[in-house]
Symmetry: C2
Subunit: 332 residues, 2 copies
């Protein structure tokens, strides 16, 4: 016999006390496809949000092409934060993990020290059949880890697709990891990603690669100066570091802190979080509307017939949509 789930009160109390087992279970509820699990997860989060001062947390997106050393970098940054008395949590957005089976954080042994730290929390990317679903789950997980007292949330993404945009929409700071000695085209970085970055960090600046790393820094520094000024007023910085040798991490954290202080002072930090909340509200409504609509019995009954007429070119999509929407009996 399976043990019954803890109650909402037990979850809320446990998470507030930083109980990792209950925190992990709550995230599992968020990730579950079961309706009763989702209802329970929403209740837990609703209780927790009532008194979580989320603005005191910092959410950082970390991205970069495969091979740039993201895991080593996140571990080095995370361990530095632990040494400073902070509590980092690492989450991921990787919609490909559902397909490939290999999640970017699935192999926790890649962050052995950070995994072992009692002050840190690491959670692999949830499985999901769409980026939207994965992104919504990650976003709820942020709220849970923050309620459990983790003050710095790092969202790792794979750096080659749309997941960066989702990550940017749930974080305060966008950090792009780069390799020494290769242009962004060679690194497989999509156009637009460099423009999104608040901090560009050339990793692997060690051994023979220090000179190349500094050249790359100069290249990206020029590039960022050509970009339009960001709405936040922040001028992106370009830094070098070696996550392997643990060099440059202190300077990096100073830059991150300067970013946070500037944006808290000019009001953009709070304004950005409000905009993000509005975006996620609209996104959740859209997803919910579609689920309700396509699961509606009358729609299910009519959809195949109407779709066939549209595919045969005998009915316009607009007309078909109007007919299907008409069978939904909205109370008004």
């Amino acid at each position: 016999m399976r043990r019954p789930l803890p109650s909402v009160e037990q979850f809320v109390k446990g998470i507030r006390a930083s109980d990792r087992v209950l925190l992990g279970q709550a995230i599992t509820l968020v990730e579950s496809a079961r309706e009763d699990h989702q209802v329970l997860a929403r209740e837990i989060i609703a209780h927790l949000l009532a008194d979580t001062p989320a603005i005191n947390t910092l959410r950082i997106a970390v991205t970069g092409a495969p091979g740039v050393g993201k895991s080593t970098f996140v571990e080095a940054l995370g361990m530095y934060l632990v040494e400073q008395g902070k509590h980092p949590a690492v989450l991921a957005i990787d919609p490909s993990s559902a397909v490939s089976g290999g999640s970017i954080l699935g192999d926790k042994t890649r962050m052995e020290r950070l995994s072992a730290s009692e002050h840190a929390f690491i959670r692999p990317s949830p499985a999901g059949d769409s980026l939207g679903g994965v992104a919504r789950k990650t976003r709820e997980a942020i709220l849970l880890v923050e309620a459990a007292g983790f003050d710095t949330v790092i969202i790792e993404t794979v750096g080659v697709g749309q997941s960066e945009i989702a990550a940017q929409r749930m974080t305060d700071l966008f950090l792009l990891l780069l390799l020494p000695g290769a242009g962004d085209e060679l690194q497989g970085i999509k156009r637009g990603i460099v423009e999104m970055a608040d901090l560009l960090v050339v990793n692997k600046a060690d051994g023979d690669r220090i000179k190349l790393a500094n050249q790359a820094r100069g290249h990206y520094l020029n590039a960022t100066h050509l970009l339009p000024v960001k709405p936040s007023g922040w001028q992106p910085r370009v830094m070098v570091c070696s996550a392997l040798e643990n060099s440059g991490i202190t300077d990096l954290w100073d830059a991150i802190s300067a970013f946070q202080n500037d944006l808290l002072a000019n009001g953009f930090f709070a304004e950005n979080r409000r905009q993000q909340a509005r975006y996620w509200l609209e996104d959740s409504i859209e997803a919910g509307l579609k689920t309700m609509f396509y699961n509606h019995p009358a729609v299910k009954e009519k959809l195949a017939e109407v779709e066939a007429a549209v595919l045969a070119g005998q009915m316009s999509p607009t007309d078909a949509a109007a007919r299907l929407l008409g069978v939904v009996n909205w109370g008004s």
Copy 2:
């Protein structure tokens, strides 16, 4: 006193008889924000689709950066088609026209000869506050002009944004116009647009620019050979032309015909139209669901309060969406 609108029967009969005044009025109904106009437009299209063999038409997207000579090119191609006994219609997707007031086809005098032809039809981009809305209107306009007997529909876009993707989703062939002697970065062409093209046409291959145009052709020929094979199996062709001197248009039309014949033969032409119809059905449903939801009295009443709680960080977007969706009384 304003004259009453023609009846559905009058519209249907008139459009089938290629009455341009009634065709133009029907497109105006499609573009109207008024609900009664939209209902009438849907009825007209429903009647027309019952016996319009849409597969016998060809829909061509034409895009390229500002300054590439799109209007001159479209006029040259359109006039060539008229000479071949065809009936071209030119529509546009330009969401910026609503903002700037200057539509890409707004000034019909730029296509003076084609405008004057009794075998052609030109319609500027509809105004609209969103790309989605403008795209849906253009898509309905395609159905109307085809029902009126126009067999080759050219969709012009501005070439610098998301409107190319919308144009690709409603056309059979994607044609990208290029300038001689400038890389695609300099031309302001977004990454991904070159990959979308079935035909790349270097325009302005005249006078001193013939050599540059041929160099550009070689450059793009190399680029297209590096791209993955398209789902249609079609190998993109790169051509040169001068719309101004009317050279290269015959070769271009031969390539367009080869494209159409190949894809009709391998079944991709019909399959692509079915996929597009499915996409537009989903898009129309999504747009309709949102309109119904945000206009629902109970949602209107609750939205401000719930949104404020979300923006203040006191309610999760997922929870807020669930609450708002809960007030909609779906019959089931």
